[in-house]
């Protein structure tokens, strides 16, 4: 080993950081080289001084200042650090649990929502049909000109132009009397409450301007808006009678009709318009009805008249329509 090379290795030799072979070579060389021995001694002297350097005491405020800076750092990004620093072995299971939970919730919601038919899917008529009880609404209560509802529940006036705008909508309760049926006819169904039901009329009506109204027992019911072309005597309950007149001037016929009723001791209980017909609600002695019919025949053509059963006593509710 050359002198220069040995000189470079003295530092490592000094720290016993050489292999056995190199160490022996240098040891042999040092035995014969005073210069290398002096250089080795100088290195030992230098190392001795370097190792004597003491530790330097930091200022007393250094730790507090360091922690203040660390706290500022922690306060600026606490949540983000926690999210970033969460080890994968915690994040992955949490993510898996979250995915499973979301899947279960989504499945449950899909099943729950899927069983309900959205209201927007149904037509408005169907929606109303599903929410409305299966009874025919009273025609009078629907307002003037309101046609019987379709099977789907729509309430479309057959002819709105025929409806006076100022018609009151008030019909006494007992205005659902059916006309007396001529012999051979039978009363198919009881009139609906508050409606002017004429089961027999339905058979005579050539056409309905609106679809039949869904009614109990499946019969389409005219709720008073249909123009009746042909009338006949219909048997109604004795206390609910109706007379239908055809007059030339409906407005002019009102006073004579009222006088006919009052002169026989009857009284006017109400006045209404319904589907273009004038209605006069009266109370009169049952025995006076035939005489009233005779008087009304002088005012107009009797289209419908009640057949008062024999032995009827007391007052009867009579509706005169013209």
């Amino acid at each position: 080993m050359k002198h220069a090379e040995i000189s470079r290795k003295l530092s490592a030799y000094l720290e016993n950081a050489l292999g056995t072979g190199e160490k022996e070579d240098i040891k042999r060389h040092l035995g014969s080289c005073g210069l290398c021995r002096e250089e080795l001694a100088n290195l030992e002297w230098t190392l001795g001084h370097l190792k004597s350097l003491p530790a330097v005491e930091p200022p007393t405020w250094l730790k507090a200042k360091i922690m203040a800076k660390v706290h500022d750092t922690a306060a600026s990004q606490p949540g983000l650090r926690r999210k970033l620093l969460f080890p994968l072995q915690v994040k992955l299971p949490l993510a898996a649990i979250a995915i499973v939970f979301l899947g279960v919730v989504g499945y449950y919601l899909a099943r729950t929502v899927g069983l309900q038919v959205p209201q927007s899917v149904l037509s408005p008529a169907a929606r109303e049909e599903t929410t409305r009880p299966a009874t025919a609404p009273p025609a009078a209560r629907q307002g003037p000109g309101v046609a019987p509802a379709s099977p789907l529940g729509s309430h479309v006036p057959p002819d709105a132009s025929m409806v006076p705008p100022d018609l009151p909508l008030h019909l006494p309760e007992a205005q659902s009397a059916a006309p007396v049926l001529p012999s051979g006819h039978s009363l198919p169904a009881q009139p609906m409450e508050g409606t002017r039901l004429r089961p027999a009329d339905e058979e005579n009506v050539p056409e309905l301007e609106t679809a039949p109204h869904p009614v109990k027992e499946g019969k389409a019911v005219s709720s008073g808006t249909v123009q009746r072309k042909k009338r006949s005597a219909v048997a109604l309950p004795a206390d609910e009678l109706e007379i239908t007149l055809i007059v030339d001037d409906p407005a002019a016929a009102e006073e004579p009709i009222k006088k006919a009723v009052t002169r026989l001791g009857g009284r006017i209980t109400g006045r209404a318009y319904n589907g273009g017909d004038d209605l006069l609600f009266t109370q009169i002695e049952g025995q006076k009805v035939p005489e009233l019919i005779d008087r009304l025949r002088r005012i107009g053509t009797m289209q419908e008249w009640p057949q008062v059963p024999e032995g009827t006593s007391g007052s009867v509710e009579l509706t005169i329509r013209w």
Binding site: S11, T46, L50, V56, P58, T73
Partner: protein
């Protein structure tokens, strides 16, 4: 005998784990334990007491922020020393410290002269001689800290010792 123990004790592992889980008090305990050692390294490398305060603060804050960068097998003391040495190097690159004058070398005490001799070295030689001869790090640890091969560490160490020897000879005279 080494003045310092550069092994990760069970205490360090527990403190680091606690710190990782969010316990700031654990990090404070690590600061208390290593602030003097890091400050000494910074002073010996930079030769500037005031600048070393800033270096150590920055090193600990960087360690706090960069905990995820620490390998699981690394020792905290070694890892922290590497951060401190890097900050010292950055400081020297930004504001090189002037070498002491001959007069200064004559008037100062022995330790001051020795420190002044270290300051005459280039940054990489200062790091090698301070870490090995002042702080007694092993060659393996120095390789981790300086991220250079062991041969490079030994070469730098030899050059640094020779230069300090020559500087010290001028400052205090020939060794007796």
């Amino acid at each position: 005998m080494s003045k310092y123990r550069h092994t990760t004790t069970d205490e360090d592992s527990a403190l680091v784990a606690s710190w990782r889980s969010g316990e700031l008090a654990s990090f404070e305990a690590l600061v208390a334990k290593y602030q003097k050692r890091m400050f000494t390294i910074a002073v010996r490398i930079t030769g500037d007491y005031e600048a070393s305060c800033e270096v150590v603060q920055a090193a600990f804050v960087a360690a706090y922020r960069g905990i995820d960068a620490m390998r699981g097998s690394a020792r905290f003391s070694t890892w922290l020393t590497g951060i401190t040495v890097t900050h010292c190097r950055n400081l020297l690159e930004q504001a090189p410290v002037a070498s002491p004058t001959r007069a200064r070398l004559v008037q100062a005490t022995l330790h001051e002269k020795l420190q002044d001799c270290i300051k005459t070295l280039p940054a990489e030689l200062r790091e090698a001689i301070v870490l090995r001869d002042v702080q007694d790090f092993s060659f393996a640890e120095m390789c981790d800290i300086l991220t250079v091969p062991e041969g490079t560490v030994k070469t730098r160490l030899f050059q640094a010792r020779v230069m300090v020897r020559d500087c010290l000879k001028q400052a205090v005279g020939e060794p007796r």
